[in-house]
């Protein structure tokens, strides 16, 4: 079939109209195909090109402390800026350098000029830590090739106060050590998200139904139970005490025995968290109070006495024949040489003279007269299940250790070990564990979870309080707790340290000097010891518990008495005034 069209029969205008209509039809059909048939496809393509996703960074929670009844900031956020250059966009290098030096000055990076000369680079950091005003000045100069990146920096208005307790935040915004690491999840918050169509300058436009806007949830602003005045005094007293005995390391923890709230945690040596990157010895970052278990020594006798009284193995009137030593299996356990030998030594003498034989006697009584499996089981029950040794306390600090306490069923949990454990050797405990357990023995028998948090705040003013958490009741019976308290007070009063206490107040405590195993011989040695002091103070009701630890004391005598004891006394007397405790 042949199509026979004779164009001459049409006018030119008709032909032109037909061609135009044909073109228009093609265009219309194509538009129909693009806009109707492929509508979804092209819409998605356009959206993908126009849409941008933004992260809305959450503000890290701030950390506050107490100042009496007031709340003061310990850790705040400060906006800082990084100034950078794109060498390919820089037009006048000299102008850039002059401007940067005049505005950023001390914030300039050392080798930034080398980077500026390298045209292959697109991002050269010029200055860090610029403040808002500096950043604004730089913006106004509008120098080609310079950009600014904003971020937040942690600021410590109180300097190095409570450094190990706080920890720091690294360059990636992650909490390291102390509360910053332990409470990182609560502090960091949750970033928000913004997904929106933007213009060419990447400014979000509210034109799409598919825009997503999820606001950021800022981290919690935490209010610590730590009081800055107590913390500051504890740090000062610790430093002075260490200097007096030429010791190199020490720690102090102060807590409220009636709530478990920590009032202060001081460590020496310390560091400035704002300059954490200048610290060479990473061990300084650790809060040794929770992370370094050790053989606490004779301060543990207070807890052994509590177990003895509560189990009925002994009572306040019990006496025993103190021969200066006691045989346990193949080992002879002795008191220190200067301790008196007394056929009718009392339980108060055990604490006053720190008689090893006395606490071994208590252990023997738990076993019906000798150290055996029954005695070990009872002792372990108190120390593990009541005092919670061998378990983490749960205090909000990173790197907490649970210590080591050998069960009586273990091959190493023999009679000799348990006899040693009764006076604080042969088991590893942290200061936090000891202070928390001791608090429960003198507060009437309630074990509170140690905590550094007293609540949260929105504005640094009103505090939403967090209730103390009871872990265990009846750690000791109430009357046992009172008897033990009286014995500890008497034990201190009879010693030289008690003479310096403020009259009219109830202050009790116990020294401890732990021998350390010499790595060469594998035997305990007096050459290098750790001095500890564990005590409380207040009136009818104990108001504070203080534990002091001093390492490497060079003073003559037992470090517990000569190094740690005076620090306890200093802080205790000051606390009585600061807490406005009324005398009995």
């Amino acid at each position: 079939m042949k199509l026979n069209i004779n164009l001459t029969q049409y006018r030119k205008s008709e032909i032109l109209a037909a061609i135009t209509i044909g073109f228009v039809a093609i265009i219309v059909l194509n538009l129909f195909y693009i806009q109707i048939v492929r509508h979804d496809y092209y819409k998605q393509q356009a959206y993908d090109e126009q849409v941008a996703k933004f992260i809305l960074p959450a503000k890290r929670g701030e950390i506050y402390a107490r100042d009496g009844t007031d709340v003061i900031p310990l850790v705040l956020n400060e906006p800082v800026y990084i100034a950078y250059a794109d060498p390919q966009q820089v037009k006048d290098k000299e102008e850039l350098i002059d401007t940067m030096n005049s505005i950023a000055g001390g914030n300039m990076i050392k080798d930034y000029k080398t980077g500026l000369d390298n045209k292959k680079l697109r991002y050269v950091v010029l200055a860090r830590g610029l403040k808002y005003d500096q950043a604004e000045l730089l913006k106004k100069k509008n120098i080609p090739g310079i950009g600014l990146t904003a971020s937040d920096r942690r600021v410590y208005p109180e300097g190095s106060l409570a450094a190990q307790l706080l920890g720091y935040v690294n360059d990636e915004g992650k909490g390291q050590y102390g509360a910053e690491e332990a409470l990182n999840e609560r502090l960091k918050g949750v970033n928000g998200k913004l997904q929106a169509v933007t213009d060419v300058r990447r400014i979000p436009l509210t034109v799409s139904e598919r825009d997503i806007s999820i606001p950021a949830q800022d981290g919690d602003n935490l209010v610590l139970s730590v009081d800055r005045n107590i913390q500051s005094y504890a740090e000062k007293a610790l430093k002075q005490g260490l200097d007096k005995v030429k010791a190199t390391k020490g720690s102090v923890v102060i807590m409220d025995p009636n709530t478990g709230r920590i009032m202060a945690m001081a460590n020496y040596p310390t560091y400035d968290p704002a300059k954490y990157n200048e610290v060479e010895d990473y061990g300084i970052f650790q809060n040794g109070i929770v992370s370094d278990p050790y053989e606490a020594g004779s301060v543990i006798k207070t807890l052994s006495m509590g177990a003895g009284l509560d189990s009925g193995a002994v009572n306040v009137n019990t006496t025993f024949n103190n021969r200066g030593y006691v045989q346990v299996d193949d080992r002879k356990i002795s008191n220190v040489e200067e301790d008196p030998i007394n056929a009718n030594a009392t339980m108060t003498d055990v604490l006053h003279y720190s008689l090893n034989t006395g606490v071994v006697y208590i252990l023997q009584q738990m076993g019906g007269g000798k150290v055996n499996l029954q005695a070990r089981n009872k002792f372990y029950d108190y120390f593990h299940n009541h005092y919670r040794f061998g378990e983490k306390t749960g205090v909000e600090q990173a790197g907490e250790s649970k210590g080591i306490i050998i069960p009586p069923t273990d091959e190493q949990g023999n009679n000799v070990r348990y006899a040693n454990m009764a006076f604080g050797q042969g088991m590893d405990v942290t200061m936090m564990q000891v202070a928390a357990a001791f608090s429960s023995t003198i507060n009437g028998g309630t074990f509170y979870k140690p905590t550094i948090i007293t609540g949260t705040t929105n504005d640094g003013d009103k505090v939403k309080a967090q209730a103390p958490k009871i872990v265990k009741k009846n750690v000791l019976k109430a009357n046992t707790s009172k008897d033990l308290r009286d014995m500890i007070v008497k034990g201190r009063q009879l010693g030289a340290l008690g003479g310096k206490d403020r009259p009219g107040f109830v202050v009790g405590g116990k020294t401890g000097t732990s021998q350390i195993i010499d790595p060469k011989t594998g035997e305990y040695t007096d050459a290098n010891s750790i001095g500890s002091y564990l005590g409380f103070g207040g009136n009818q009701t104990p108001q504070y518990v203080i534990m002091v630890q001093v390492k490497d004391s060079k003073a003559a005598g037992y470090a517990g008495t000569t190094a740690a004891g005076p620090i306890f006394g200093d802080i205790s007397n000051w606390l009585i005034d600061y807490l406005k405790i009324t005398p009995n």
Binding site: I72, P73, L76, N77, E78, P79, K131, Y132, A150, V155, P157, E158, G159, L161, A196, D199, I203, P204, L205, T206, V207, R228, N229, S232, D577, T582, P583
Partner: protein, 115 residues
């Protein structure tokens, strides 16, 4: 009847549709052709398009307003944070302890308690 149909004015009363009454219908003498209709429709489409564009532009301008406010909010937030930090530093223990007021404080000789 035919006279009434040629009238140019019909009263409202008379114009009303009522039962058993005659009705009248007004008719223009001029009529719109297909070109006029097309032009009118095109104009209506154009007006609607303009209204649509106005609305879309207005919505987009909210984006700029929000961006401006957000920038302002960030600036004020940054300034507030800096002032808070400065305030905290001025109230820090180190500052207080090194102040003239603290230097003039004295230790109490003794403490009495009122029961």
């Amino acid at each position: 009847m035919s006279d009434r149909n040629n009238n140019t004015f019909i009263s409202r009363r008379e114009n009303a549709w009522r039962r058993n009454q005659n009705t009248t219908k007004f008719e223009h003498s001029t009529k719109l052709g297909p070109v006029s209709h097309t032009v009118l429709v095109a104009m209506m489409v154009a007006v609607l398009g303009l209204i649509y564009l106005t609305q879309v532009t207005k919505t987009s301008s909210y984006g700029y307003a929000i961006e401006t406010l957000n920038t302002r909010k960030d600036e004020l937030g940054a300034k507030k944070s800096e002032l808070q930090v400065e305030s905290a530093r001025l109230k820090s223990l180190q500052k207080i302890q090194s102040s003239e007021v603290a230097a003039n404080l004295t230790q109490p000789a003794s403490t009495d308690y009122i029961r």
